[in-house]
Symmetry: C2
């Protein structure tokens, strides 16, 4: 997807090789928007059935090292990979596991503070915030008294 030559250059710059698998995995991450390694593998295998899940893991590691993709742990299970292009914040409910996507605009304040005070560059493009969704808040009252005592 447009960037083929760029991936090749980036790899060569570090003495690494361009391979069809690496392009396919990168394309899959771009196409799928936060997908698990297994989903990425399935997607790649539609075009190249011989590609192994091991290669997908190794390539995702590599691409993450090159800062071309990243991963976030949304719910319990497998991590979720995406590119910088896919911008939003995830609100993950502790209790029911529900994930809501919201625009990253609300974070500009926080980003500035963390940068100024800790030198930490917050990744607003793919952030997971944990808490409790509106539905589950209503169920929380019963247990609250235990913590309060």
């Amino acid at each position: 997807m447009v960037v083929d030559a760029s991936l090749r250059r980036t790899l060569h710059k570090r003495g690494m090789r361009m391979t069809p698998q690496r392009q396919l995995v990168l394309d899959a991450v771009r196409d799928l928007h936060h997908a698990t390694p297994e989903q990425i593998c399935e997607h790649v295998q539609r075009v190249a059935p011989a590609v192994n899940i091991t290669t997908v893991y190794r390539t995702l590691d590599l691409l993450e090292g090159l800062d071309l993709v990243r991963h976030t742990h949304l719910g319990h299970g497998a991590p979720s990979y995406s590119t910088h292009a896919h911008e939003h914040v995830h609100l993950v409910c502790h209790r029911c596991g529900d994930v809501t996507e919201v625009p990253p605009a609300a974070l500009t304040n926080l980003t500035e503070q963390l940068g100024a005070r800790f030198g930490f560059v917050l990744d607003c493009s793919h952030l997971a915030l944990s808490g409790r969704c509106s539905r589950c808040v209503e169920h929380a009252e019963t247990a609250a008294e235990v913590n309060g005592s």
Copy 2:
């Protein structure tokens, strides 16, 4: 730790039984501050060597359902369990996996916004924010041009 009777009451209220294992696991989570199931198990086994890792998993699930503990995925590996009492925000570096703890004060703005606009109750007591730590920011420049093109 003080709350023994409270745990028993909470369990009985739901037709569940109080057991030494449940108290030990809850105490371990309180003592250890964000520990993995395996670490919790080891801690419990110092006092009660026969307690099985299976029981730890089952009990953590149970206690989370009772809203007495919670878990967060910090880095790659195992989840990290803690209680509400342990208040801080984790800054997790995407690149090197480093985790910095900062006070949750910076989040008051964000908490209000998310509550007002989405009904989402952000859990400030044990939040993981992903991004890049100050050291790794310096290494990022080399790859940046690829994304920019």
